[in-house]
Symmetry: C2
Subunit: 110 residues, 2 copies
DNA sequence: CATTTACCGAAGTGACCACTTCAGTATTGC
DNA sequence: GCAATACTGAAGTGGTCACTTCGGTAAATG
């Protein structure tokens, strides 16, 4: 029902916002409550909750409510989409950039 | 002088758009002219040029004009920003995700 | 030289985004 | 019970985004 499609667009879009990247970086260390995440950020609690929703929909985070506190954690799904996209392109990049490197070395040394 | 700031926000934002990701994927294979990039996309040439500008500003592509043709290529700068961000967080993710085996099993879908 | 090709620039548009405020609901602690 | 806490939902706002059209410039081509 609330399971949105997790794809590269969602993940990249979610990480395009510095506030959301900050949240992900915090969650990399340990779980946080919504207000715990909000504390160092100069925005409203509601805004943080909205960011969290984006992160959840992109598969980068998930959360569950116990009592009145919602505990937020990192989620592997979004991260793996991100890493997969990069991995899928990496060999092509390397091949291409090797040729670029050759061209650079030819025209100008570093 | 016209060196714009290449940061994670720009790179993630640039890759958040499916059309721009498609362009990056094409450029992974070989250089293209602007109209060459536009051909398989159902949008105007102008729109493609605008996408290209975003990719250039985020450090993911660069281009140069020879005669009337602008040749576009992948650029390493944006890619390295992206990979660096992921690498910087990866160890934390792994440590965290080790403790979250349950969450993984819970959200296993492709 | 005229036409076609390839791109550039400005301006407009509708949709979406980050964020706000305000008014709720549930839970916890005194 | 009452107040403080922790969120939740709806609605609004200003800004940005992807895209368009139109009009222009410059290079290749017959």
């Amino acid at each position: 029902m609330n399971r949105k499609k997790i794809d590269a667009s969602h993940v990249f879009h979610a990480l395009g916002d510095p506030t959301r990247r900050a949240i992900v970086e915090r969650l990399s260390e340990r779980p946080y409550s919504v207000s715990g995440l909000a504390t160092p950020l100069n925005i409203s609690l509601t805004a943080v909750a909205q960011h969290l929703q984006v992160l959840e929909e992109s598969g980068l985070a998930h959360s569950e409510k116990t009592g009145r506190v919602r505990t937020c954690r990192l989620n592997a799904a979004g991260l793996s989409v991100l890493e997969k996209w990069i991995r899928d392109r990496r060999s092509l990049w390397v091949r291409r950039l090797d040729r670029l490197g050759d061209a650079l070395a030819e025209s100008d040394e570093e």
